[in-house]
Amino acid sequence: MGRIKAIIVKEFLHILRDPRSLTMVFITPLVMIFILGYSVSYDLDRVDAAVIDHSQGRLSRQLVQSIAANGVFVLHGRGASLPLDRAEEMLRAGALRAIVVIPPGFDRRLAAGAAAEVGLVIDGSDVNVANLVQQYSERILLEFNAGLTAARGATGLPLRLDTKMYFNPEARSQFFFIPGLIAVIMLMISALLTSLSISRERESGSLALLFISPLRSGEIIVGKTVPYIIVALLDGAVILLFARFWFGIPLRGSLLVLLAFALLYIVAGLSLGILISTAAPTQRTAMLAALLITMLPSFLLSGFIFPLDSLSPVLRAVSYAIPATYFLRIIRGVVLKGAALRHFWFEGAMLLVLCAGLLAAATRKFGRQRKAAQ
């Protein structure tokens, strides 16, 4: 016990005595969550658009009015003042996202009780934005239609649709990204720090000293990881508090449940770090490996940004092997939905399996390398 304690204390001193590594561990995650919490957002609250009204009647003006009143569309030209080719050019230059074209016979046809069409020219490059723009305009048209049919004496829309958003009534994408960022940062910190710490010892030769010491491999690993578990947990706690009080992300569930899963998750990350560093001869390759193994899949295949349900089956299978996949679901569930332990038996079990597997692999690899070194 005393021997393990000695390593833990040494490792802690390493972190605490070096102001730069302290900054790395505690300031960078906060800076990241601050900047990214604001910057990574899908919330589209402004669509630059132009309306070209060839009809210039009472109803067409009314339609233009309701587009302008919508709040999302910022109109850059009204009436027929803006020629279509000029508007198309603005679309190409990115100054406009959408052009609404009301054809000449619009008022006449409607007055005669016939159906009319409205043209929507939308910049389709960013598919996500294009979809949202189309939805916004559909909604405006739907309301306009409802007004028209009511005026004609018919009943309103025949079907009443009521949409309710739970857990995030204002549909802020921060609710989605910030807990996700916490999970990603915690994994990065834990995998990166251990792999660097071990490669540092290797390069300075002190790993050889540890190797020939009477310590068992398990003891060395415990001694090397416990300080980083504490550091990663502190990191997580600091970011969580920041998310709560700065961004107003609600904390609806039990922190104890979150802590239990966070421990598993961090140990998985640390084991990954040890695996990486036992494989790589220098810090440079260790870093590259840590980058490719933790950052890319945890960013892309864990559901951090892209919903897993839409992935192809092969990639979806890969996502099951990534610890972040499960922890993301857990942290979002606990923090935002107030979900309880019983909701996560599958995620918890998978996390446990992955964690145990990685830890066993890391200890074995480490032990084998130690034998080879002697």
Binding site: R20, S21, L36, Y38, S39, V40, Y42, L44, R46, L110, A115, E117, V118, G119, L120, I122, D123, G124, S125, D126, V127, A130, N131, L132, Q135, E138, L141, L142, N145, T155, L159, L161, D162, T163, M165, Y166, F167, N168, A171, S173, F175, M188, L196, R284, T285, M287, L288, L291, M295, L296, L301, F306, D309, S310, L311, S312, L315, R332, K337, A340
Partner: protein, 367 residues
Amino acid sequence: MKLRYLVKKELIEVMRQKELLFLMFVSPVIQIVILGYVVSTDIRHVPVGLVNLSRNQVAERVSERVRRSPLFAVRFESRRSADYLDLLKQGRAKAIIVFRDPLDRKRSAATYPEVQVLMDGIDSNTAMVAAGYFNGIIKGYILDDLARRGRGLPVAGRPLFRFNPQLRSINYMGPGIVGFLLTIITMFLTSASLVREKEQQTMDTLLMSRLNSLEIYLGKALPAVLIGLIDMVIGLLVVILWFGIPFRGSLFFLFLASLVYLAAILSYALLISVLSATTQQSMFFAWFSLILFLLMSGFFTPVANIPQPLRLLADINPLRYLIQIIREIFLKGNGIAHFWKDLLALAGIAASLVSVSLLNFKRFISR
């Protein structure tokens, strides 16, 4: 002329490290293919639950349309009321669609049921898109229904999508991936090569030689530019041939922009290596900046969504301009007349990064 020897040496070193060769020329292909699939997946198979409490035929017909749609994956169906909130907490479904008969019987003699969509709003983007899909299904049903009775909605919108008529995500995301990979590879290649010189103490010999700091600087930068451009070609080929993304613009300007970008990102990598005391630090900062560059580049989420004070940070992010230019060239076939401002901004950033890092490099050398 001395520069020739530096470049040659650097290239020999790269060619003799198998893991580096793999990293630079094979892994980009794999990564682009995988990334391409992940990043460009349109939202589909949204998991939903159907709860039908209505006796109305319409509910069943709409449900059938939901079942048949590839946009939704029906995870459970029920004819009884349940604890919807708990179902959402479990995460089995992202939305629960509930059909009910209206309470006020007067209302059009209950021709239509009431529909309630209860959504897990955490992934608000997916939720909004899914809501849009469902609206589309309902609207389609109503229009068909009205048409059967010889009626229609008075005003119909007819959408037309420019530049990407089929709304393929890959057309938008694919070219961006190339820029992203270019960044990772050159950044790590450069800092790794400087670190190696320090470890081998060959940096001392270089500094003692008759080379001046500009020559040493270029000796590091040129090979990386060369490798970056090769990767660019590989990336473009994969994106165009594998994913079939149409290329509409000028190759010349694409490479010009990439060249300017490479100058910027290389100088940044050199700056990090020169300023940090240990390998650990330089790698950490490289990593940290990589994440900021990437997430603030507009690659995933629009730059326009970044709030004002932080937008300044995005405005000095070189990757942002590269991705903007690549996309304009690829999707819109735009010429220099459209993106000269972006190119100019990129050139400005590159020029300042080059001069700052060159100055620091000089200091590092004469230390």
